[in-house]
Symmetry: D2
Subunit: 370 residues, 4 copies
């Protein structure tokens, strides 16, 4: 069993989720392939950093990520910072030959994402983009059922991710409402998850059309220059048609991420708010609701000896970080079930195509610069 020193950038929502998952890895299985040593956590605010250090058990709190990427005790750089801090620190970590895990979206745009992928590939480090939904048992099972052909050939994919953060009056104009910092709005933040699911489950999008809109045009006296919502049509390489939709202006929704796949022999659907379940239709008028909690289901060998005991959303990060550390400690590859930087880049390409199509009022081909 290897022990890998980890440095984490960010103590916000994602920093908390990663920290808890890293701590849980020590107890989730008897003989892990690799375990993390929590070397340092980084954030600008000294007090918040210290509190995070204490709560999550990091050895030290630092205020400059440069101290992390050059730290010899660090084998893994885990970037849970804001979008504007994805590129430079991760590149620096790669150049110092750290294995890198970076939250989604990989960059503020496809160009940033491509640089990260290219450099990570060249450096030969293990790289992963934090599309944690892949590590929910029901979604892994959906992938397995599709691969096994249980639904026939996919004909349709539809996904939506609805929130209402832009409708709350007390919502400040954080970096998420600023293009320079975030890259885009609902597209990169919520839509990138949908694009990754589309790619993971159905395959490569090759053409997109889209509309997008900024419903709340100013906030805190300053303009909002990112999209509050988009809707896109997607044509897949394999022939399926898709619709993707994400919004920050959807009523009182907050984490309403759902998808459906239809194929020539059946359909499946998933709702992140009931994440222990997967619905299948393979016979007329019979919806089978699978509760994905048996020890035979993906990841569930890590949990309880009897089925029917739900796991939580945060547990996806345990599965994700375990997967990443195991890869880093062995052959280095997180695919096909983890998203690597290529996946992060390809998701960004589709997101950019959505933004471009929305701006250009036209259909845009997704073309990778490889």
């Amino acid at each position: 069993m290897s022990e890998l020193g980890v440095a984490l950038l960010g103590y916000g929502f994602m920093g908390s989720a990663h920290s808890r998952a890293l701590r849980a890895l020590r107890v989730i299985e008897e003989r892990p392939a690799a375990l993390p040593r929590l070397v340092s956590i980084c954030g600008r605010n000294r007090e918040r950093g210290e509190r995070a250090r204490r709560q999550y058990g990091w050895d030290r709190a630092v205020r400059d990520w440069r101290r992390q990427v050059t730290d010899d005790r660090v084998a893994v750089f885990d970037n849970a910072g804001p979008n504007s801090l994805h590129l430079e620190p991760t590149l620096a970590a790669i150049r110092n030959r750290k294995h890198v895990l970076c939250e989604k979206p990989l960059g503020r745009n496809a160009a940033e994402a491509r640089r990260l992928w290219t450099e990570a590939k060249r450096a030969g480090v293990t790289h992963m983009c934090g599309f944690n939904l892949r590590f929910l048992p029901a979604i892994r099972l959906a992938r397995e059922l599709l691969e096994a052909g249980d639904l026939g050939e996919p004909t349709h994919f539809r996904a939506r991710f609805l929130a209402s953060s832009a409708l709350r009056e007390d919502q400040k104009r954080t970096w998420r409402f600023e293009r320079a910092a975030a890259g885009s709005g609902a597209t990169g933040d919520l839509g990138s998850h949908l694009v990754d699911l589309a790619r993971y489950l159905v395959g490569e999008p090759v053409v997109v059309s889209a509309v997008s809109k900024t419903f709340v045009k100013a906030r805190d006296g300053k303009p909002v220059d990112v999209d509050d919502a988009f809707a896109a049509l997607v044509e897949f390489a394999g022939g399926a048609l898709g619709t993707l939709e994400a919004s920050r202006v959807a009523g009182r929704r907050s984490n309403a991420c759902t998808f459906e796949v239809d194929g020539t022999r059946g359909s499946l659907s998933f709702d992140v708010e009931r994440l222990n379940e997967l619905a299948l239709i393979t016979e007329r008028k019979q919806v089978r609701r699978l509760e994905v909690t048996d020890t035979c289901h993906p990841f569930m060998e890590l949990w309880w000896p009897a089925p029917g005991h739900a796991i939580g959303w945060g547990d996806s990060f345990i599965h994700e970080l375990r997967h990443f550390l195991a890869a880093a400690a062995t052959d280095g590859f997180v695919t096909p079930h983890g998203a690597d930087f290529e996946d992060g880049y390809r998701a960004a390409l589709v997101c950019d195509a959505i933004l471009e199509a929305a701006a250009a009022n036209g259909r845009v081909e997704v073309t990778a610069a490889l």
Copy 2:
């Protein structure tokens, strides 16, 4: 109370639904505004026509609709025939000053629909297009809630109608797979319902983008020249974004029509397979499932004295035909809750725009020729 002679064209699925509803009108309420007299039913096959006559209690079965539109006993011409028989018989009925109810889609294209609307308006007859879903209590309630502003300003509308008829191997190449007869495939058949719901609930679509596809390209040795599926983006006059999707190649689905509306203050959703229910979200993480069966709910004063007693899909036709006959017997207007021929025409305009956008790989404005 008026009694209006009715002639029905068609003894298929819709002919049966209309016949049963017309018969039910005599018992659904104590003092109806108008009641039908079942003058004649028309269909090509003599034996099937005679069987329908006997089962549903029509006075006579005829084989030529021309005998119906010139029959003095007939005040109402109810067209439940195939799409290719919507234009000519309905026009003839209008010219003979019959009130006209025509199944959806009103024509095989917007041009046909426009002719029907123009002529009906000029003749001053009562006209209605058979968008029966408007006559489900939950959908009427959805409209009322939206009008009352309970959900704030609409930001999103999404709807899908999924079937699998084109995937069944024993499915013959009926007229529904032939452009000359049907006008279009999934777009006109299933999509027109979604377009009408979009218009009824959210308002006018002004721009559409779309993809469509014929997945099963031949049947019975002959090519299929209509779409098996489409997906469309819709921009509404009021600023909302929408997605519409219909398919005949969706796994094992058969009547999977659902929609959602998100607004600035709440969301609602509906599923035709659970048609007695409407779901509302107006507080964070609280989904209210309204069972729309109380006497206070739309149409339910016609049914049972206690709530909790579901009605059926076929009952939408009772509500629809009652609405139509009452209009014909009084001031002649079916709007706003019924769809008149203008609504049929405007739905056809959007469907044509979807087909055009799909063919042209571009965004198409919905422009009415008024």
Copy 3:
């Protein structure tokens, strides 16, 4: 095809449900085994009777059921009157050799029910007790699955029927709150349905324990002397254990009738508020929701050519009356799928045992006097 003259006693909720169903029989199928002629409807109030006559199309309205049971035009006496009018009019009808359909509960107690059964058997007329839930497709399917052994041997049956009529302040002390008129409260009104379902699906109850209670002890200044609620334990002849529960004091419920059967190989459950569905569990953590709307499902050959089109609660009466008239016109037997007067009597025996057990604080054997 036979035509049978029908006389109906009662123009209330059940009178309306039966009238509508009788009228629908003419259009529900092409070649019915028998059709009703609506000879007369009976009720005390002249004006209400006349209104019912006109709305539902009865030939005449009468105020004395004695005129019905001696009417030569009448072959079938359909008793939808209050409980206190079940015994005498139905007995008189039997003695006049009318076929008899009587709403549930068959009598105010088992003694009344037994007299009705004995007399009907002796007279050789067709007899049926109005347990209409048996004529919902999902419940018939449940019975078929159990008979076929799909769930193994039944181990548990649980059912509940929850309403809140006794909690509404404006609820008058109708006959339903008076023992002399109703026989019992929640037990006979709601519980009898559950007992019939138990017998139809799992078999004969042989021992019961029970508690019951009158929560609202007076109404309109007069005492309520029937039960508002009961809960009972049931031991079945086949070895299964059961719980039955009915209430008029359950929050804001109104028609909340559900049941579950567990067997050694699987489970099923049903909810009358989603009556087009049946849920099955025959594999671990897989709930199959069957939408019982395909033409292959019970009764659905009478409805629509494509699945997914819900029927309503009132349609159970169409199926029920069709079944009864067909039996009356042919061999005379409504069992096993219809409940005959023996079933009505046996349900009453169990209801009486529940009331007795509740009063006696003990376990009571269900013993038929045959």
Copy 4:
């Protein structure tokens, strides 16, 4: 902040659940009232004990609980052993003035439970019985809503816990099938949860009637002398009626624990297989599904900053152990939201009354020996 040395008895299902929870306590909040030090884990098998020690991070593994209860480093004795090891080790721990947490059922019968409660009270140590369901957010919320009177006065409580362990052919005759070791079967194992929920939500049961049954009478060539299933009627001190039911012979169920409360103004229901949700009915035909994941919901301040992120079943143990350690470190009392040994004893009294009523074919009063 206090640090309390903990000794854990048991490395099975519950031992694993407790161990993981204890480890999670270090990261769940910034300033915990108390934190555990994992002193020792105890189990008979040396190898399994060593594996558990390593996986969960206990300082040492021991094979005799006597070494734990006399260990000065130990402040808390956490008993997650089989039922037959609840009494003696916990008593010994109490006598050594350890704070004690004991898994449910507290004893094999009420007499054992009473001894534990009496001794713990006399010793003045903090005592808690492991009814972990109380620590699910939805159940705590249910209690709060009931206390606030949102549902009016309770009229009904019904709960069931269905499993199928006794139906699996490969299921060995473990101690759970043996009265001497387990005390009872489904009653103590599953039913005790239901009894505790009944008491937590509605109040004290005062009279019970019951049936119980051993469906599979022998296993591994030896008789099974505990109940596979029971059903009970319960009368509450406050006047509500209840039904409780638990089974090990229910089809393919495995963790199907649900309950409903009806009151004079509304109803609520819960399903442990969808544990992040609570359903409420406070208006006619309106079911509100509350997703209990907002920071305002019980325990959720420990989790994520945005709602819609489900927690898991295992997280109930984190909340439970946090509650217990905080009590032990402060005033010593776990009630009203935690179950103390009095609650464990009172639950056992009701379970014993159920077994007695089932054996005696009669109604049994629940009488505490205080």
